[in-house]
Each structure stands twice: as C-alpha cells, then as structure tokens.
C-alpha cells in the first residue's frame, strides 16, 4: 500500500498525444476513478504505471520510489485487464498461484494465501476449473484474486467490468469497492461509465485527449463541472449553445423567456453553453414571488416518452432550443408550461 504520484507524465505516438502533462496524486488507500471518452488515454495512463508503456516525459512515484523506468516485473503493481487475461492453459488455482510461486514462498504460505484469496472473492470450490469453464463474472473475480493475492502496492483496474452485463456489473462494482476498502489498497479504476465512477470513487479524474480536465471528489466534480464537456460527460443531458447578449446590466443569454447572467470573461456575440441536467428541473407550477434561488422559464411539451418510474419530456423554448426533462408528473403533449430550476443547477460556460 502506497501513495502514487504522477508528475508531468507525457506520452506521444507520432503526432498524437496520448498523455499530455498529466499530474495526479492517489493517496494511500484511496480509490481514484479515471473517467474519459474512448481514446482519451486512460489505458495509456495505467499501462505506463504498470510499465508497459514508456513515457516520453514525467515521473511516476510509488510510495516515494521513482518507478518511471523500472521493469514491469519489478514494480509490484497488480493489474486487472479488461479481457481478464486469465491464462487458458492453467486452472483457477494455477492462475492464482502463479504470482506467489514467482515470489518463492513456502508451499504452506502459498496454500494459506490462495485460500485467503479464494475466500475473498468467494470462489472456493472452483479451483480446479479452467477459465473457459467460468462465467464472465467468475472470470472477473479470478482476475481480481490473482492480482490481490501477491499483496501489491497498487491495484490497477482497466475497465474491469465492461465485458459484463448491466446487472452483474452493478453488483460487482460495490463488491470491488468493499474489497478495496477492506484491504485499504491504493487503487486506480478506469471506466468510461460516469455513474460507476461517481458511485465508487473517493476521487474522480476526467481525461480528454490525454489531458486532465478536472479532478476532485465525486460530489465536487459533479456539482461544479469546470466546463460544458465535463458537465455533459457527467450525465447532463442538455447542452444548449446560444450567443451572448449585452445590455445596461451586463452580459446575459435568454432561455425560455428568462434572463440568465453570463460570466464576465465572455464577449458579447460569443457562443455560450448552457448546461442543465434532465432530473434537476421541476415541471409546472409557479415560482413564489421574490425567489432569487430559482429561475423560472417557459416551454412547450413537444413529445414524451414513458420510462417506467417517470416520463421524459421534450420541451421546446421560444428561442427554439429543445430540452429533455425527466418528471413524474403527467402532462399532455402540446401544452405550454412553466419550468423551474435551481440557480446553481444551471451551468453557463
């Protein structure tokens, strides 16, 4: 268990910057989720921590030790691959024992640790099976046991659940989290699923084009997205672009007849993004007089879709913008309604 520090890590493939001056710190025992779209450099990041990618610049420090140019086999990191990479010619037991044998432990010690690991991931009884005889979820657990049994300083998970179907994924994500806390192991968890990242991480890092866009605690990054890309990636379904207007009182933009102030760094006539989450808008009803906490605007119900527990409405504003809003209220299509949203739940960039 150790603190991981990444300083100015850069990796280029020809013209492409897979990692661009990445600086991160993962505290001891912390689970950091690395989130980002496909090709953003997530795998390159963990692969350089594990030693499979040689960075062009920067340093990687694990527990204060500079491992930037150490050979992979000397690093004491443990990686779980997206494809699990369980060796097909070895049984579950042989797969898990492999790393222990390399460490020249006594047979009793090996037996003790293997039992501990099998118990940890709830796989007892399947030792003699070959990977092809296991379900995806079971293979995932074997991969986890194989990584954890060698007592690594850091656990690297590269999209560990993306090959599983939604229900198992949901359950396993919490199991991984519990395990991680129980062992208090420093962990990097790669995913492109924002919900997964927000729900299990102690801290979240958002990567795009090899750059860190934002890093912080999940609540922090969710409630204060730095820009419209982060907001959209963290699950905002509405990103509207319009032009900045100006009058005596300053810069503003119009939405559904309401005036929204625009940050001062913008220029009049410049494009501005308005970000609103589908589930943070209240449909219908009037806002009390003199309420400055909320913004009220109007729109017309253009279409709707039944989602089970709620409905999703497509609302069109007078400016011609279209918004998706979730609500449990029933409203007829074609009706003109008022919408109400918290002032700090509207993000303007």
């Amino acid at each position: 268990m150790a603190t991981l520090e990444i300083q100015g890590l850069t990796k280029t493939y020809g013209q492409l910057k897979a990692l661009d001056n990445v600086n991160l710190t993962v505290q001891e025992g912390e689970l950091m989720a690395v989130l980002g779209p496909s090709g953003s450099g997530k795998s390159t990041l963990v692969r350089s921590i594990a030693g499979f990618v040689a960075p062009d610049a920067g340093h990687i420090l694990l527990g204060g030790r500079d491992i930037t140019f150490e050979r992979p086999e000397k690093r004491n990191t443990a990686m779980v691959f997206q494809s699990y990479a369980l060796w097909p010619h070895m049984t579950v037991l042989q797969n898990i024992t492999y790393g222990l044998k390399l460490r020249r432990l006594s047979p009793e010690e090996i037996a003790r640790k293997v039992e501990w690991a099998l118990d940890l991931v709830d796989l007892s009884g399947l030792e003699g099976r070959y990977p092809r005889q296991l379900s995806g979820g079971q293979q995932q657990r074997v991969a986890l046991a194989r990584a954890l049994v060698v007592d690594p300083e850091i656990l690297l998970l590269d999209e560990p659940l993306s090959n599983l179907d939604a229900k198992i994924r949901y359950r396993l994500r919490f199991e991984i989290k519990k395990l991680q806390k129980r062992l208090n192991i420093t962990t990097i968890y790669i995913t492109h699923d924002q919900e997964e990242a927000l729900s299990i991480a102690d801290s979240v890092v958002l990567l795009k084009d090899g750059k860190v866009l934002q890093a912080g605690r999940p609540e922090e990054i969710y409630s204060n997205p730095k820009n419209s890309f982060v907001a959209e990636f963290l699950g905002a379904s509405n990103v509207i672009t319009d032009l900045v207007l100006q009058d005596r009182e300053g810069l503003y933009v119009m939405l559904g007849g309401a005036r929204l102030p625009v940050p001062a760094y913008k220029q009049p006539g410049e494009e501005v993004s308005i970000v609103i989450r589908a589930d943070e808008v209240e449909l219908g009803g009037e806002m009390p007089e003199g309420d400055h906490e909320h913004v009220s605007f109007s729109g017309k119900v253009n279409d709707q879709m039944y989602l089970g527990s709620r409905r999703r409405y497509e609302i069109e504003t007078v400016e011609g913008h279209s918004l998706l809003i979730d609500s449990d209220r029933e409203l007829p299509t074609g009706s003109v309604i008022r919408l109400c949203v918290d002032r700090d739940k509207i993000y303007i960039y």
Binding site: A50, G51, F52, R71, P72, E73, K74, R75, N76, T77, A78, M79, F81, S83, A85, W87, P88, H89, Y98, G99, L102, R103, D122, L123, S135, G137, Q138, R141, R146, A147, V150, I168
Partner: protein, 294 residues
C-alpha cells in the same frame, strides 16, 4: 455467488453457439465431397499407394514372402538405425532451442533485420546446403581458416566429415521453418496474457516457458514433427556431409537401390523409419499428456 439464473444463461448461450446457423448446409455435403475429391485422389495416388506398396514389398524378397528383408536390414544396418535416431533427436533438440529462442526474442522485441535474416535458409535447397556446408566445414574450409586465425592453431579437424557437421547442416536448414511456425503462434498469443505474467513479476524467459510455449503447444508440436520427419527423410545432406560410416538410413536405402537394385531391403528400411517416427511421436505425446495432468 453462483446464481442459478447466471448459470442457466451461460448454458443457454452455449447451446445457442452449438446450433448450426441457418445458412450452413446439411451434414452430408455431396458438394463438399466433390470439392475435396481431386485432393483425395492425388493423396491416394502419390502417397497412400506408394506407402502401401512399399510396406508390401518390404516383406517380399528372393526367398519369397517373409521377414528376410528385415533380418538383413537389422544385421547390416542396426548401427545406422541407432545413429539415425540419435542424430535426428539431437538436431531436433537444437532446432527447438534455437527456434524458441529466436521466436521468443522477436515476440518481445522488434528487430526487422533478424526477422528477415533467419528465414534465408528456407529458400536454399537441400543440395546447396549440403554442398556449402561441405565447403564451409571442411578441414581447410572457411570456418577452420577463421578459427585458425583466431586461435593460432594451424591444423584443425574438419567438421564436414563427422556427425558434428551433419547436425550443423540439419539444424541450419531446419530451424527457419520451425521458427516461422513458432513465431506465428507466439505472435497470436494476446499481449495481455504476457503482460499479466510480467505484471506479477515473471521474467521474459519464464513467460516464454510458462505462458507462450504452453499456449502455443499444438503449433510447436507440428513444427517439431515437421522438423523430425524432414530430417529423418532427407537424403541430399547426409550424402554430402558426415562420416562415411555410420550413415543415415536414407543413404543406406539409396545405396541398396543404386548398387544392388535391392528394393526389398530399401523398403524394409523405409518402413523402419516410419516405425521410428511413430514410436517417438507416441512417447512424446504420452509425455505431453502426463505434463498436462501434473
């Protein structure tokens, strides 16, 4: 953790996988038979018929039908048989080590020059290999000239006319094909299998032995069988390189036919070669199975 629903789903998808897709034809494919007929006919005419006829002829001699040819073969050529087995196994072992080493190296490192150069002997015919080895390894050949310069010893024994030269020639001719096959198998092993082992602390040498070789097992077996068969059946190289006595079995066979017109003993020697291959393959496979079980 083993939810029944999960297992049910797994077995269901297995069933689905086994079901034939709707576009696949029936099991009794007449068109399929017709397609492979020419190949089968060629195989029968060029391989199966001569094989059977040589087995039959090995039992026919001037003395009639019986084991006379075999008695003669064993009394005249027992030493050569043992020599053949020994030389072939030794060459095979060296080919195995060299080809796995090169394939392993190229799996981990990009070196286009090596990747090109190791294949060259593939394109050189056996006859040329035999002749050039005879020149290269002769008592006053190129190798000894160089060695004399380096060591300062004026007269060195030539390798060309002993078993050493024979083994070198076989290995030089055979290792590229084995390397090509094994490298192909190594390349098709997913990177993540290798990385997972390195990540857990394995060295590259151990990765080759414990991950790459076992996963590539069937291809390695094919490479070794091909090497073995083409070594034990090669005539040109042992005609040109090696000691006058003992010699490899193909030389004896050609000798029986050329000088005595004695097809019976030649065929008996041929059948003995088949038996050697089969027996060794059997022991090899048994050994492999035991390894797997352990």
């Amino acid at each position: 953790m083993k939810t029944p629903a999960l297992m049910q789903r797994a077995s269901l998808s297995a069933q689905q996988a086994m079901r034939r897709p709707p576009w696949a034809g029936g099991r009794s494919g007449l068109p399929g038979m017709l397609l492979i007929l020419p190949a089968l006919a060629m195989l029968a005419a060029l391989y199966i018929y001569p094989l059977l006829s040589s087995i039959v002829m090995s039992f026919v001699s001037d003395a009639g039908v019986g084991l006379e040819n075999y008695r003669k073969a064993f009394s005249l050529y027992l030493i050569d048989m043992l020599y053949t087995v020994g030389i072939t196994i030794l060459s095979l072992a060296i080919v195995f080590v060299i080809s796995v080493a090169i394939a392993g190296y190229l799996r981990f490192n990009r070196w286009p020059f090596l990747n090109f150069v190791y294949r060259l002997p593939l394109f050189i015919p056996f006859l040329i290999v035999g002749h050039s080895m005879r020149v290269f390894l002769a008592p006053h050949g190129i190798l000894n000239l160089i060695l004399s310069r380096i060591t300062g010893i004026p007269e060195l024994p030539g390798l060309a006319f002993g078993w050493g030269g024979l083994v070198i020639s076989y290995v030089w001719k055979q290792f590229p094909l084995a390397t090509l096959l094994i490298l192909g198998a190594f390349q098709s092993v997913e990177d993540s299998y290798i990385e997972a082992a390195l990540n857990l602390g394995s060295s590259r040498l151990r990765v080759i032995r414990e991950i790459l070789l076992p996963i590539s097992g069937p291809t390695v077996l094919v490479a070794m069988v091909l090497t073995f068969v083409s070594t034990i059946g090669c005539l040109t190289i042992p005609l040109l390189v090696g000691a006058p006595k003992p010699v490899m079995l193909p030389v004896d066979m050609s000798f029986r036919v050329t000088y005595f017109n004695d097809w019976g003993v030649a065929n008996a020697l041929g059948v003995i070669s088949y038996v050697i291959v089969i027996v060794l393959a059997y022991y090899y496979l048994k050994h492999m199975v035991r390894e797997e079980g352990a």
